[in-house]
Amino acid sequence: MIELQGVTKSYNGSTKAVDNLQLTIPRGEIFGFLGPNGAGKTTTIKMITGITRPDRGTVLINGKDILTDTVAAKRQFGFVPDSPDLFLRLRGLEYVNFMADMYEVPHSLRKERIEVLAKRFDMIDALTDPIQSYSHGMRQKIIIMGVLIHEPEVWIMDEPLTGLDPKSSYTLKEMMREHADSGRTVLFSTHVLEVAEKLCDRVAIINKGVLQFCGTFREMQEHFQSDESLERLFLEMTDHE
């Protein structure tokens, strides 16, 4: 579960990137985080994951405050950043093992998990190669593997489907569904509205740092009293200024 209470972040003291955000993402849900470019999605995710400190407000992950109970809160989630160009000089397996060490995964468990993940993402033959030699999609997959190695309770993913081939994309979506259905939490941001419409239990739409809407797709249609697609509703919500 992720709880944001009155989270605010401004740059240069004037421009508000995120303004008084109030959001609760309960267990058992895939939660989509939508918004146009520069709306404040990534800033919000950075505040949830402890990369950026909010000016005001609190962020709780499974009840643990990211600002005061930092390490315990960070153990609750796995985070896939928007760019997979990380740890390029390490081999795939070295990176995954590094992440396992960071999250203190026992030796007996990590081998099995790496094998399962590598099989699902079709990465077994690439594990001993440097990440630098990977394609964009492969980098994305190895980053996801490193994040899931400690079987985090909360998944936080910034544009996780970008660059994945259809099979891997399908696998990841399937895994997200399994994870939520087992009573745990998935938060992900995306620009692809079809994906959000099909995959998410609930969505939040943010624009210019302000939460425009939070609820199910059905609720959104009711709210606007229309049968239109998420795309039309989204455009309507974010273009009106």
């Binding site: 950075k46 994951t49 402890g50 990369i51 950026t52 400190r53 390490v71 315990a72 960070k74 153990r75 985070f79 950043p81 160009d85 990380l86 740890f87 000089r89 390490l90 081999r91 397996l93 070295e94 093992n97 590094f98 396992a100 060490d101 960071m102 999250y103 203190e104 995964v105 026992p106 030796h107 990590r110 081998k111 790496i114 077994i124 033959d125 690439a126 594990l127 001993t128 190669d129 440097p130 630098q132 030699s133 990977y134």
Partner: protein, 553 residues
């Protein structure tokens, strides 16, 4: 031409040059620059004094122009050597390459722009290498305005030829090494060979220079024209004579003639670069970021070995170590200096005219207690100096660049990450120290007691430099670089430990010479004092470090 110019402007802005970034940081940088200038002041004044003494001496025999010729030639050599590294980083290892290659630009336009960027970087080098000499000459000879006008033009044009030569060397090297799957390794070996040649060259220079004991001998050497180094340098850059004559004859028609010839030849070199670069550059740069992949499944044992469990501290330190060794720019700039400098330090001794046999005399000297005390001070200073030039801990945060944010979401206390980051710097520092100890043991036949004492005294000094380094980098990391070279080479932070190291070494020498103490006393005091300072720094780092790390955006 217009496109070249526009490209240059974009590259300079994108390179987030020295004064880019936030206003607050800008003040820090300016303050740092002033501090660095202050640190260079003693060196500069010594330079001016030597130049002025040489001028007086040469003036007596009417040969003062030689000073200009020599200065310009030496500056060209310096620009050439540094230029190779600049060119590699700007022409080949800059991250804008992949964006430039698909654009409808001629190779000549890319090279032109990159050449101008390199030229601009080099002006800073020229200003330091040549500025004091040219101004001293001007003042001493009572030159008029035209001299200074010629000086300005010479200053602007001088780097053209050496940078062209450096570019050609780099382009030919990259062109013919851009082959096969293991080109990174191939290039590394090439780089090592080049470094070895540079050290050999250094040895020749040292052999020439070590016979000089005063300015008169230097003058003699300059005039006798028998010195290998001097003739080599002037032969390598014959045009520097034109520049020198243009300066010496400033204000006369002859002077203008020389200046014209100098400009013309430099322009010809520039044109040659464009023409040759048009053929060479693309073949060297295309596919530069490709990395070989085997796509082979790991064997069961390999898999087992690679998935061993380690503590977060150890795992992080190993990650740092691997990244340092596997990134060519970091390996060349941070690691290799730790390995080569101990040898270079012994070169001036080994290249003495009486050869290695004379060296054991130093070893005998170290048997005497007070000489050994000074010897320990030298060993401590040398170990700290080598650690400082490696710049490993002072760039440990900067080297992460845009990926620094990863440290912030890892479930590991910031203090663990900070400590793990200084491990490679400490290990390589101690390794260099051990190398020096071994060399001193073999070449100087220094007594074992001396080797042990100097080791005990130097290790906490190495830790001191690393602690200072990480504290500086935590407070003002340089994360917005576009080529790895910039994280370690064009990083002003690396100057601060150098200044601190020089000051601390100066203090140690002062007290050792004043105190006239026995070597065990010197080693004990230096060791205890460093340990106390290290403990204080460690406490500060553990208390404040995590907060500093959190502030980094």
């Amino acid at each position: 031409m217009n496109k070249t110019w526009q490209l240059t402007k974009v590259m300079l802005k994108n390179g987030s040059g020295f004064l880019g970034g936030k206003a607050k940081d800008r003040w820090k940088k300016i303050a740092l620059l002033l501090l660095a200038c202050l640190g260079l002041l003693p060196l500069m004044s010594a330079y001016v004094m030597i130049a002025s003494a040489l001028y007086d001496g040469l003036k007596l025999v009417g040969q003062e122009t030689v000073l200009l010729g020599l200065g310009l030639a030496a500056a060209c050599l310096g620009i050439f050597v540094l230029g190779i590294f600049y060119v590699l980083s700007v022409f080949f290892y800059s991250q804008d390459i992949e964006h430039l290659l698909p654009l409808p630009l001629k190779p000549a336009q890319i090279i032109g722009a990159k050449f101008l960027v390199t030229l601009l970087y080099e002006y800073a080098t020229v200003a330091i290498l040549l500025g004091p000499l040219l101004i001293t000459y001007g003042v001493k000879s009572g030159a008029g305005v035209l001299y200074y006008l010629h000086m300005l033009i010479t200053f602007l044009v001088l780097p053209v030829i050496p940078v062209v030569l450096a570019s050609l060397v780099a382009m030919v090297f990259m062109r013919f090494t851009n082959i096969g799957k293991s080109k990174d390794r191939f290039r590394l070996v090439g780089g090592l060979v080049a470094t070895a040649i540079a050290i050999g060259f250094q040895a020749i220079v040292q052999r020439g220079a070590s016979t000089i004991e005063n300015a008169e001998q230097l003058q003699e050497m300059i005039l006798s024209d028998k010195n290998m180094f001097l003739s080599l340098v002037t032969q390598m850059f014959p045009t520097s004579r034109l520049g020198a004559m243009a300066l010496a004859e400033a204000g006369t028609l002859v002077g203008i003639g020389y200046l014209g010839a100098f400009l013309f030849i430099s322009a010809a070199f520039g044109a040659a670069l464009i023409i040759l670069g048009d053929r060479l550059y693309l073949k060297g740069v295309m596919g530069i970021s490709e990395t070989a992949a085997k796509r082979q499944r790991a064997s069961a044992e390999e898999f087992d070995r690679m998935t061993g469990k380690r503590s977060a501290f150890l795992a992080y330190a190993i990650k740092e170590w691997k990244t340092l060794f596997r990134t060519p720019a970091f390996l060349l700039n941070c690691v290799l200096s730790s390995l080569f400098l101990p040898f270079i330090a012994f070169l001036p001794l080994a290249t003495r005219s009486d050869g290695l046999s004379g060296l054991s005399a130093y070893g005998e000297m170290l048997q005497s207690e007070t000489a050994a005390g000074i010897g320990i001070a030298i060993a401590v200073a040398a170990a700290m100096f080598i650690t400082t030039t490696g710049s490993i801990s002072v760039t440990a945060i900067s080297r992460e660049g845009q990926n620094f944010f990863v440290n912030k979401f890892l479930p590991v206390p910031a203090s663990v990450i900070i400590l793990a980051k200084i491990v490679p710097g400490c290990i390589l520092g101690v390794f260099s120290l051990l190398l020096m100890e071994v060399l001193a043991g073999i070449a100087l036949q220094a007594p074992v007691s001396f080797l042990l004492l100097s080791f005990v005294a130097a290790v906490p000094g190495i830790l001191f430099i690393n602690l200072i380094g990480i504290m500086i980098d935590l407070n003002m990391p340089k994360l917005d670089w576009d080529s790895e070279q910039k994280a370690v080479k064009q990083n002003m932070n690396t100057l601060i430990p150098l200044i601190i190291m020089l000051a601390v070494s100066g203090l140690i020498f002062f007290f050792v010479i004043q105190g006239d103490a026995a070597s065990s006393m010197v080693a004990g005091t230096v060791c205890v004092l460093f340990v106390i300072v290290d403990l204080i720094l460690y406490r500060i780092l553990m208390k404040k470090g995590p907060g500093w790390m959190e502030k980094i955006d």
